[in-house]
């Protein structure tokens, strides 16, 4: 009963927040890449995402923050339909990518995941050479010509700021690289299929500070050509790298605004308490 009461209170809070959010719609000329409309997700009986309404624009870095279990990773995984891999998952509402509902019957998951790449928490290169890791995606897409693959591999590794470190050992196994280098190989592998959006689920949480800085610098370069959505537990990282920040709490979006507003003067007390480290 007590839990039910809490849920009801939170729902009321969220209604209030929606009003706040709708009254502070950001004016921008940038095109919308992703838009969640009343998106809900259940793991069995667990209502993990509740009435999510969020808009993501081109060439923005969007940070998603919130305590463990708030639904941020679930939401990001929903954006390229990876949550479908969990059998007990059920969804309602829409997530639109470039105006198309990603859950509609005609939408190809393969095409969606090509256009919406993902980088995970732990570097997960294939047990292959650096070259083969990056060339894997293009090969799957039917590119066989060596000269084109060479070009794609170099371009992707350069874009991921790791070309100079690996150009002389492209045939070495990617497992021989450091964690930070492996993560940048994974980013290069994502870039090789020329996605429009890169989803990053805590991409630096397993990395040392220098590698983290390199990935953060890389994100600033990548945002010129890509839209980035990053889930992070590191509040300072969200404040440093992102243009917009959304705060998730207990499956709701409590507040979504420009990053400087979220970290300097948030509207909701729960956001203030979370970014200030008062709870987590």
């Amino acid at each position: 009963m007590a839990e039910l009461k809490n849920v009801q209170v939170n729902k009321q809070d969220t209604v209030d927040n929606k009003e706040t959010e709708s009254s502070s719609i950001i004016q921008t000329d940038k095109k919308v890449v992703f838009e969640a409309k009343n998106f809900n997700l259940w793991y069995g009986d667990n209502h993990a995402l509740q009435d999510i309404n969020l808009t993501f624009h081109e060439n923005d870095i969007n940070a998603i923050i919130g305590p463990s279990g708030c639904g941020k990773s679930t939401f990001v995984k929903s954006m390229n339909r990876m949550t479908e891999l969990v059998p007990i998952v059920r969804t309602e509402g829409n997530i639109e990518f470039r105006g198309d509902d990603i859950f509609k019957s005609g939408m190809s998951v393969e095409e969606l995941r090509t256009r919406v790449g993902m980088v995970f928490q732990k570097p997960n290169p294939f047990p292959k050479s650096i070259y083969d890791n990056v060339a894997y995606g293009p090969r799957v897409h039917g590119i066989k010509k060596k000269s084109i693959l060479d070009e794609v591999v170099e371009k992707s590794l350069r874009s991921a700021s790791i070309w100079d470190e690996v150009k002389d050992r492209l045939n070495d196994n990617a497992y021989g690289l450091s964690g930070g280098q492996q993560q940048r190989i994974c980013i290069a592998r994502t870039l090789a299929v020329e996605p429009e959006v890169i989803l990053m689920d805590e991409p630096t949480s397993a990395l040392d500070p220098i590698s983290t800085t390199k990935i953060e610098d890389l994100m600033q370069e990548l945002k010129k050509d890509y839209s980035i959505i990053i889930v992070t537990h590191n509040m300072q990282q969200a404040a440093r790298v992102s243009d917009r920040t959304s705060f998730f709490y207990q499956g709701y979006v409590v507040e979504s605004d420009d990053t400087n507003v979220i970290f300097e003067n948030p509207n909701d007390k729960r956001t203030e308490d979370y970014v200030s480290g008062r709870f987590g």
Binding site: Q236, N265, P266, V275, S276, F279, G280
Partner: protein, 217 residues
């Protein structure tokens, strides 16, 4: 909901307490400064000038504490605003301390005897002291209406300053004395400005937006 970072928030409270201590020290010295203008014993003035080093030390301690909290705690939002405002408020209070010392220096040089001028100085001191007391109340009670009122009240001190420097001053025949009266009036007027500035920092800390004239938020 589990509350974290209790030590940090204890430190933040302690930083605010240090600012309050500094404010109280300035408040006590302010009334003394105007009182000693009429005393025969110049030793009181010397003591007050010397005591300024305590104010400076308190300000340095606040700055060191604030820098330590920024370095070690990476504060954001209202916590960061509180720390930045503590640094700025400590700076204003330190300048108030300097002005109090300067008034004591005037007494070391000369004794002002003109009753009306002394009454004007007493009025300026009372206005400033009340502003300082009310700043403390407004901060404790997060009363932004009072903050706005305090900011407006600086004009009263300015009005007395104008009265002294554009009218009363011409009654004095001694040029040196005229200069010293003008300086004292200016020091008291500057103290009012610094208290107004403190009120504006508190407004910023509470609301997250800088105080602007005519602001109604």
């Amino acid at each position: 909901m589990t509350v974290y970072r209790e030590k940090f928030h204890e430190d933040l409270t302690s930083l605010i307490e240090e600012c309050i201590t500094l404010g109280k020290a300035c408040h006590n010295r302010l009334s003394t400064a105007v009182e000693i203008l009429v005393t025969d014993n110049i030793e009181e003035a010397r003591k007050l000038v010397k005591a300024d080093s305590e104010i400076n030390q308190l300000e340095s301690a606040i700055n060191a504490h604030a820098i330590n909290l920024i370095t070690t705690q990476a504060p954001v939002a209202s916590d960061l605003r509180t720390i930045i405002s503590c640094i700025k408020i400590a700076d204003d209070l330190e300048r108030i301390g300097d002005n109090i010392s300067n008034i004591a220096e005037v007494r070391k040089r000369i004794k002002i005897t003109n009753e009306r001028t002394l009454l004007r100085f007493k009025t300026m001191e009372r206005l400033a002291s009340l502003m300082l007391e009310d700043v403390y109340t407004a901060f404790k009670e997060s009363d932004m209406d009072l903050i706005r009122e305090i900011i407006e009240r600086d004009k009263d001190i300015d009005a007395v300053f104008v009265q002294i420097t554009t009218s009363d001053i011409f009654e004095e025949s001694d040029a040196f004395l005229t200069g010293q009266i003008q300086l004292t009036a200016k020091y008291l007027e500057r103290i009012g400005d610094h208290i107004k500035s403190i009120a504006e920092h508190i407004y910023y800390t509470e609301t997250g937006t800088p105080f602007e004239k005519g602001s109604r938020e």
